[in-house]
Symmetry: C2
Subunit: 585 residues, 2 copies
Amino acid sequence: MYRTKTCGELRLADAGSIVTLCGWVQRTRKMGGMTFVDLRDRYGITQLVFNQEVNADLCDQANKLGREYVIQVIGTVAERSNKNPKMDTGEIEIIVDKLNVLNASIVPPFTIEDDTDGGDDLRMQYRYLDLRRSAVRRNLELRHKMAFEVRRYLDAHHFLEVETPVLIKSTPEGARDFVVPSRMNPGEFYALPQSPQTLKQLLMVSGFDRYFQIVKCFRDEDLRADRQPEFTQIDCEMSFVEQEDVLQMFEGMTKHLFKYIKNIDFTDPFPRMTWADAMKYYGSDKPDIRFGMKFVELKDLTEGKNFGVFDSVPFVAGICCPGCATYTRKQLDELTEFVKRPQVGAKGLVYVRYEANGNFKSSVDKFYSAEDLKAWAERFGAQPGDLMLILAGETMKTRKALCELRLEMGSRLGLRDKNVYAPLWVIDFPLFEWDDETQRFYAMHHPFTSPNPEDIDMLESNPGAVRANAYDMVVNGTELGGGSIRIHDSVLQDRMFKVLGFTEEQAQAQFGFLMNAFKYGAPPHGGLAFGLDRFVSLFAGLDSIRDCIAFPKNNSGRDVMLDAPSPIAQAQLDELSINVCLKKD
Amino acid sequence: MYRTKTCGELRLADAGSIVTLCGWVQRTRKMGGMTFVDLRDRYGITQLVFNQEVNADLCDQANKLGREYVIQVIGTVAERSNKNPKMDTGEIEIIVDKLNVLNASIVPPFTIEDDTDGGDDLRMQYRYLDLRRSAVRRNLELRHKMAFEVRRYLDAHHFLEVETPVLIKSTPEGARDFVVPSRMNPGEFYALPQSPQTLKQLLMVSGFDRYFQIVKCFRDEDLRADRQPEFTQIDCEMSFVEQEDVLQMFEGMTKHLFKYIKNIDFTDPFPRMTWADAMKYYGSDKPDIRFGMKFVELKDLTEGKNFGVFDSVPFVAGICCPGCATYTRKQLDELTEFVKRPQVGAKGLVYVRYEANGNFKSSVDKFYSAEDLKAWAERFGAQPGDLMLILAGETMKTRKALCELRLEMGSRLGLRDKNVYAPLWVIDFPLFEWDDETQRFYAMHHPFTSPNPEDIDMLESNPGAVRANAYDMVVNGTELGGGSIRIHDSVLQDRMFKVLGFTEEQAQAQFGFLMNAFKYGAPPHGGLAFGLDRFVSLFAGLDSIRDCIAFPKNNSGRDVMLDAPSPIAQAQLDELSINVCLKKD
């Protein structure tokens, strides 16, 4: 071993002992005849001292050290005269006797500090240097700890981690597959799994009872901040369970993580909200319930006053922003601009100031009397000093826009503290989504999701109204995971496929092996999958999942450090029996 | 929850309690007016009892249950009159009050028993049924436990599990890559990692200090029993270490696994053997040292006696088989046939019986006197009653053949007990291998393996004699893992590339990002990787790694259950800018 101690562990009690340390030169400073070097490793930073008067040669060597040199030093731990209470090792320094340069470094393209001067592209190209920054490394340490605690919890609850294959079969339904040409089976391709969904259901048929896997999944989709072509799921499945059992088990796992990672004790059960309520009150299937400002619907109170904008639409609703009656014209204009952005999509914004003196001032004073506005305020539960913001239009579109406005106001009012966590189960999702373009129903989750038993009778007569035995866990407006109780009855599965417009042949071609397996005694089962990248990002307070991935890809799916993807040799293509055929522009 | 207890947990102390169980019908038997059902789940088997006289309807229902039906029963735990001490639940049975068929099963294509009547192909096609057999499931339970204990040990030793990407860059050196066409980057391909070797070295450059990952790796090679296109490594790397540190750390991990999984305490250090000795005494770089029978070289003792077979070759060596002097002509003929098989490749076999009365009988009595044979026996350390078996020929080829003969004799003599474990470090591997065909040296491990410091001077003058800082862990003749101390000095790395015949450009094209990274302060580092599949197979006493993989592929790389690989749609190919071009036969 090149060292006896790390750069993070020496304390005042170690004073007097002789140690060997290794690490990277964070910085050097000369002060009079003294040279100080901050030596950094994964565990911390320790100050080294060289004294010109005591050993001029050694001090000269120290003065020649460049940033990011890798060095080994032998020296004596001494109490610092000038202690640094911000550092764990701030009470000591090392009086160096011997210095050994293990490796030099050319000048790095950006500074290795929390506030680096390197831009995104440069840091991605030199990701191995970016990872030296403790702000980045801490995210990966957190990721390790979270994965370990997930495993500890699930192991204690008798889940078996089973590795499912990465080279599987392509299924056209769902997102786009990454495919892998098979050399031994010319003209044929493997697909990389979008999730181990069908394989974990097979494991339930196999009687594995409780399965999990922390597993890479792959989707060839266009990318954005919270999407990567490869991502990691905590994938779970249980047999002989009902929805309540799954919720309990994974609420327990989430509480375990909060407790052991964030030191936060959630003693109460997580709140639950139906999908219908989530849409009605928050305009989203993943509401951020760190703050209130629930939607209030006003259509009935606004009608018949000759305000065409409200009269001509099916839906009028708003939020009440506490203490915002003093918002200036400029602030209100900003909010109007915000809701008119294409991503939000509202046509305009109506406001009503409930002023501190009890008067109302609104952008629709022409149409509505103080009496009218008072009735609105009552429905909002508004207090003097509050501001009501109202949108109108087609129901779902307006809800979506109002959701964005609510989140924006939450942020402006400081109600979305990253250190406050508000978990929530969203339940009773619709089983189907209607697609206008193809004029058919699609499974909202996947075709194996079981309907709520109360709604089974409507499966053929009113598919759109059937609720699924499906659930999402949402924390602070982020969907951390979701799942469902699966169909284990082949008669029900057949009905499901019919509603989805599958012929028997199509169903057989796509899901034949699973349907076949279900003939041999499938147990009732269900499960869910968490997105590990999102879970870690949430705990780390990150804006992008990229920051908790060691070697992420950019928005073109490129790893700019490795320069992947890249062309391959013709000999490789020949062996695989494929050709590249580029389209001409 | 559909159940209150599992089928593995009820004991005599539970008698009288009312329970709900779920599981699969293992078998039913009628005895007089009683019907007994063995109910199976992952945790065990519990006997259910139905009594015609008490409840005829219920008993009739039970009589209609088929094999592998999934049922739920409510009943009372009762003491058995006819106890089965072989089963954990053998002291009790359930007097059933209520029976609920959760799912029927058609007749499975083979019996779900340890000794099944299903052939390999059938069991692979219906792998989800094969996995119901407890013999198979136990291997996967073991795998889960081993992976968990690996993580527990490494976490306690400050290793961070870091996920490295699966979509990386293809490198032509080494085995064949699986590649993935990129839709967003037409004409370009990702490769699936053969191992995260370069990425884990980058993590050391990043200062991660101690990394591990239990990770899928991919090699597009022709397959055999101990090879799968996708396999799992326990991949590890450490900074600021020398070889001794790595050996200590992972010997510790291996001992931890033996202790917590197999309840075997290895208190002594694992023996170490140089590669040169392993070849000299066992003819293999992975000797099975559960038994002796070390090679004895005889060339000098055999010369000049006009036995052309021995005189004409550079190498004569044999093994001494204790107590085998009584081997019959037939047995000796069998052994001769064995060594003449093409896989073994010897031309013939010379034997010398050291009979109990002290006489010698050999197949070369014409050429060698009793005196001569006595001298041989002395060198062998043979005792009266032993049998000496001798091969001759080109050195390495003969060693390899003698290795096979030694293993065969070990098996015949019962010296290779699967419950006895003999771990071993093989060290001091050669750094290079000479390839006659291409007339150049190749890196025996990979081009980043550091030479033994004592041999660095010979790097250019005598590359073939340079030992590497490389090591393998071998248990019972199986290589479980291996690794090396890496080169962290770019000058030494350049010399290495030159010996390997790389131009600067070639080195840059293939390993540019790693060589570049090394310019920014690479720490001394080293590591190793274990094959998890092999490790589990060893602990489970399996002959093939397939038996510890949930969904393995066959020798053509096919998953016959999923029917993968398979053709994909033209639209998919078009999106990926590739075409299939099948060669005509």
